[in-house]
Point group: C2
Chain length 402, copies 2
């Protein structure tokens, strides 16, 4: 078997962690498997490097920032190779230049394009454990570009796809994917399996178990993912195309507090107005999430939408500057809101799912501000203070607990 294993920064934070990971990899290696390990930077290294840059200038160039940040992974992979070597197992570390990890040019937010597998294959053929820097690629200018936070997951999937690996294991500090955040919903249950589509909805909704792009890429290339704990030997959760094992309507409940609502009141009720508003925001790099439009008074309409909290001030400023051009009478906003979503491939063929969710929230006395749905997801916007109560109510309402 060829197994790609990805470990995050907390899994390689110090000597003890590094050796724990090394031994775990060696165990599988000694069973005759080929092992590729993808690592993030150790512990707080990335934050420390960012600190160094900010000490030079408050707004460092993104290109140079990536040149700086990529050293973090190079340090962890070389130390890991030394650790494995010292345990008597041949190992070799490789960076993005050495494995030709091509990516798009966007510094700080690049997407992987392709990886040339020759070098990795060559080292595996000589029975070495290959340790690869996550989070980084080389763009068309022959410069380092990083993939954004959590990008090491995507690195692992890209390598697994290129090598046609038998498994791609993502190690985290939780046992797998849960029906809800166990810190909020104590009786949340670990899922044995989940489909790519459900995982995508969960990842983008703040479940934070897997990086979104990694799931997209796994789906595209049919890479079977396993999310499991680096702290114990439990089986974890398999992410794959079709999950028939579980007969449940929904797989899980997720929440996202990093949300603000903005309303533009009394805009002209004419074609093209919504387009103009969202095009203006998109050009400034604002990602709009849920959109809701309602009829206003006297030939006008009101549009509400949600954005990430960090983007609120920028968004309000842009709207204010373009108030006249966009025919906006008033701008409102609400900062302390949150999204709650239920995700499940089963809901497509079950019309009662939305009603059941709303009923659970009504029983818990939670007011719903906005609603948005996709094929495998229903999201509602509620007051931030209601989140935990709503999560537990919905989780219980669908009988997801143990």
């Amino acid at each position: 078997m060829l197994i790609v294993k990805k470990f995050g920064g907390s899994s390689v934070a110090d000597r003890e962690c590094i050796f724990r990971v090394a031994e775990r990899c060696i165990e599988d290696y000694k069973k005759g498997n080929d092992i590729v390990v993808v690592l993030s930077a150790m512990g707080d290294t990335t934050d420390e490097l960012i600190e160094k840059a900010k000490n030079i200038t408050p707004e460092p160039s993104r290109r140079e920032m990536d040149m700086l940040l990529t050293t973090g992974e190079q340090i962890s992979v070389s130390l890991m190779a030394m650790a494995m070597d010292s345990l008597g197992v041949p190992a070799i570390s490789l960076n993005a230049f050495q494995i030709r990890m091509h990516c798009t040019s966007a510094y700080g937010n690049a997407r992987l394009k392709r990886v040339e597998a020759e070098r990795i294959r060559h080292e595996l053929d000589s029975r070495k454990i290959v340790i690869v820097t996550g989070f980084q690629g080389v763009n068309k200018y022959e410069d380092y570009a990083t993939l954004g936070r959590g990008g090491s997951d995507t690195t692992a999937v890209a390598i697994a796809a290129a090598l046609h690996a038998d498994a791609c294991e993502i190690y985290t500090d939780v046992n797998g994917v849960y029906t809800a955040d166990p810190r909020v919903v104590p009786n949340a249950r670990k899922l044995d399996a989940i489909s790519y589509d459900e995982m995508l909805e969960l990842a983008s909704l703040g479940a934070r178990v897997l990086h979104n792009r990694s799931v997209e890429m796994a789906k595209k290339y049919g890479v079977q993912l396993v999310v499991r704990s680096s702290l114990n030997r439990e089986e974890g959760t398999v992410v794959k195309e079709v999950v028939k094992l579980e007969k449940m309507l929904i797989s899980g409940v997720a929440s996202d507090k990093n949300t603000s609502r903005v309303s533009v009141i009394g805009v002209d009720d004419k074609p093209g107005v919504a387009f103009k508003i969202f095009n203006t925001l998109a050009k400034k790099g604002i990602n709009v999430d849920i959109i809701l439009q309602s009829v206003g008074r006297e030939g006008t309409k009101d549009i509400s939408f949600t954005i990430a909290q960090d983007d609120l001030n920028k968004t309000l400023k842009i709207l204010e500057e373009n108030k006249e051009a966009l025919t906006i009478q008033n701008i409102g906003h609400e900062d302390s809101v949150a999204k709650i979503s239920i995700v499940g491939a089963g809901m497509m063929s079950n019309p009662g799912v939305a009603a059941k969710m709303f009923e659970s929230m009504f029983n818990a006395n939670v007011n719903i501000k906005m609603i948005s749905t996709s094929e495998v997801r229903i999201t509602v916007l509620i007051d931030e203070n209601d989140v935990d109560r709503a999560m537990r109510a919905v989780h219980d309402g669908f009988g997801l607990g143990d």
Copy 2:
């Protein structure tokens, strides 16, 4: 003009240092020059990285060690580019992969082979200051290999040669090359110019101003070097092919305390014995410096030679193990010895130089243990305790002071 400037680790140790270097480079840039900057790792970074590795294993693989160490320079070049950027001057950092800095495969002690200048030229053409990682190359396996301590000097010379730079400035914490170490000889004088050959003898004799290989390479490609201070604007010392400006017999006096003497007594006085002894040592990686052979008693001879102090124990062990095969009767050694050398292109045509040196030492009551000479150098071995006194005596004897 195209100017290559090299700054060592202490010149980029912190924010203040980085900005001082940045401003100095920008000054020359704004005069219309093209600037390439070669940097070492910041301050103690390299030592800290070595510490990290030793924390994993006492004997890390050299290949992984180089993978680790090269991050040090990548950090300093990216921070320098940010600093210049923040001062309003476009700058770009480049590592050994990006400039195709090819080197031999010896990890930890690689030699530069060639550098492809395209990328640097391209960035200079768009009027950027180009900041390059010193100390590192990429070998035929497509792995990082470091050049050994002080290798950044060689990086600077290699780039200056490839770009046909008009000047290659090596910045240090001293004002240039002196007739002797000013800490030992208070009236030592700074030289305006010195020839490659003299500089080579000085560098290899522990003057520690320039890395030896960098001078060899500068001589080979005719790169004119300037050694100058990063702390002030003094002119420094020019290192070039022929120095006619100074009419002195000798250019300077250097000492090297990192020396031990070993004697093998009573070996067979037959052809091939010396060869066998030094071949045995060479195969084990021992560098022998001065060799002196004298006639022993009854058909035997005695051979004395000097080595670096670090190699003493290993050398004694090798000789002991091969005592019979090498026909050695006794092995003697002396730890507390030092070399004193005078260097000067002028001594070739002046037969009295050696005599004058010995006279100076006699007057200072310094006993000479061994003598070795080259075309531009005379070296004597003396007791380590006599070094400072001997340095001053010789320096004064040749009238080198101010």
